[in-house]
């Protein structure tokens, strides 16, 4: 009697088989049943999570696209189909240009600063000095702090009369009087950007610290013994070895920053005027303050399209490195 019957035999038709004896036939049927049961169980396990994601992500996304072709108002909340009129209205408006410009400045400034600060602090925290371990564990604090808290805290720091920012700036002779950093259109965006850098850079620090310490010391030693100076070692050995982590971290922080709502909403709610309005805050304003779901949907679709550039780059990189297998 053959010891086991493998799946390959199951696919063979009965006619091809040289007159099987009773026992293997039973084993084949048993194996087939087992295999079917196994497949059924796999399907059964994946259906609830996928259905849930469908209801929570795919349906809302499709619905937002649908809403973007409709019009509704506070008085008449039932959406009526209006074709592309939301898009033409948005794309020709000054507000859209402001939101787009703010979003681009906000994302680039925050991501670039988080990259530089994250990398610098990661290298610093990998050096030997007293208090390094303490600094390593507290550096994460801004990142684990809920965005609401960071928002109200920075609102206080920037307060013209009560906050330490003006007190320090006055003490150092940088400003005169009590400028309202968040209250004037010329400085509000920059002020929120600084708060966002503070809130988010520790994530980059943690990532880069892990990557920096993952570079084998022998590589650096070898370069040094070949006569490379500190900068050359960093530029030609350390940095290339960290490149995959840097690429992923920069892509992810770009997406997260572009989508970040809490900080701006709490600090300025998009104001003064529209000077700090970015896509998430403006979508919120259109949907829940102006109750114009159509406009909110169209802004949402536009922001998804803009983001998809980064999403595609990220997914391609992940696929190339085998992360999806």
């Amino acid at each position: 009697m053959p010891p086991t019957v493998r799946n390959a035999d199951v696919s063979m038709s009965v006619a091809e088989r040289p007159a099987p004896s009773q026992a293997p036939a039973q084993a084949v049927a048993k194996e087939k049943r087992r295999h079917n049961r196994q497949t059924a169980l796999r399907v059964l396990c994946i259906v609830p999570p996928v259905a849930l994601l469908g209801a929570l992500v795919a349906y809302p996304l499709a619905n937002a696209v649908y809403l973007s072709f409709t019009k509704s108002s506070f008085i008449n909340p039932a959406p009526t189909f209006t074709g592309l009129s939301n898009y033409t209205a948005i794309l020709t408006s000054d507000t859209f240009l402001t939101v787009l410009k703010n979003s681009v400045i906000w994302t680039i400034a925050v991501v670039a600063a988080q990259f530089v600060l994250g990398l610098a602090s990661a290298i610093l925290l990998s050096q030997k000095f007293k208090g390094r371990l303490v600094l390593r564990s507290v550096v994460i604090l801004p990142w684990i702090m809920p965005g609401v808290i960071a928002g109200v805290l920075w609102k206080l720091l920037y307060d013209p009369y009560l906050g330490p920012v003006n007190a320090l700036a006055n003490g150092l002779g940088l400003v005169n009087g009590n400028p309202a950093w968040l209250g004037q259109a010329s400085t509000a965006l920059a002020a929120v950007v600084v708060a966002a850098i503070w809130k988010g850079f520790p994530l980059s620090t943690i990532m880069y610290m892990a990557a920096y310490q993952g570079v084998p010391n022998e590589l650096r030693e070898a370069a040094r013994s070949d006569g490379a100076n500190a900068w050359q070692v960093f530029r030609h050995v350390t940095l290339p070895a960290m490149a995959p982590t840097i690429r992923t971290t920069v892509l992810l922080t770009t997406v997260w920053t572009f989508n970040y709502f809490d900080l701006v909403y709490v600090m300025t709610a998009g104001g003064p005027g529209t000077s700090t309005e970015i896509f998430p805050t403006y979508i919120y304003r259109e949907a829940f303050q102006n109750v114009r779901y159509g406009f909110a949907g169209a802004y949402g679709v536009i922001s998804v399209v803009l983001l998809s550039i980064f999403t595609v780059v990220y997914l391609r990189q992940l696929n190339k490195s085998g992360g999806l297998d």
Partner: protein
Amino acid sequence: MSVTIARRKATRQVGVYVAAAALAAFVLGPIFWLLTTSLKPRSEVFASPPRFLPSHLTFANYADVLTPDTLQFFVNSVIVCLGTTVLCLAFSLLACFTLTRTGTRGRKPILLGVLVSQLLPQAVLLVPLYRAANTLGLLNSRFGLMVAYMTFTLPVAIWLLRGFLMAIPMELEEAARLDGLTEFGAYWRVIVPLAKPGVAAVGIYVFFMAWQDFMYALVFLTDASKRTLPLGVLALIGSHTIEWGQLMAVSALLLVPILLVFTFAQRYFIAGLTAGAVKG
């Protein structure tokens, strides 16, 4: 020769300490301000120019904010975040059984979908989710908020958990199968227990993400009794004056659980953070 090397080393050391001090000041300065403001008497909170150190410490702000309302918000936050964590772990453990099987057809598109959902702007999903929740009567409900939180926690949880489970050697599962366990039995009784630290990391990360949220709570909860703590913080910002002392005291309270979680589970937390994202 050795003198110049020693001197260069010394300047380098000084540079490191200066940089470390600057980093510490940037990171801790605002947190220092949060804590001292929460401990200042009201007259000093509203002093201009501000006092950098309180003349004496008082817990008056904490006493003012520790009202039954705040406690209710706190309890709401804990219930919602724990509920989200449990639901999210259950669903992602289920999904990962299938998603860790090699040779399952349709695995790649599902994983792609999971990743894309992670990167979508939540603000876009908010309006349809709000309307759906309204129709289903899930607005102003803690359960409704738990479900809504899975919009952004479940994709991350599935992705992270899969990474941890895939790191367990396949031979262990094969050995368990030879001992007579079914495929699911081997997964549930051998692989998942071995990946316990990873499961813990995912759970902590999910709790953390839910605890951070503000946008969903803002839209889903209008009833004061259902509010979570971040909304309680915002409610302290009046239209005329802001009671900064109380605001900072509530903020400090909101920080406590996440600090506790972080202190006791820092290792898992960092593992969760770096594992999923940096695979690329």
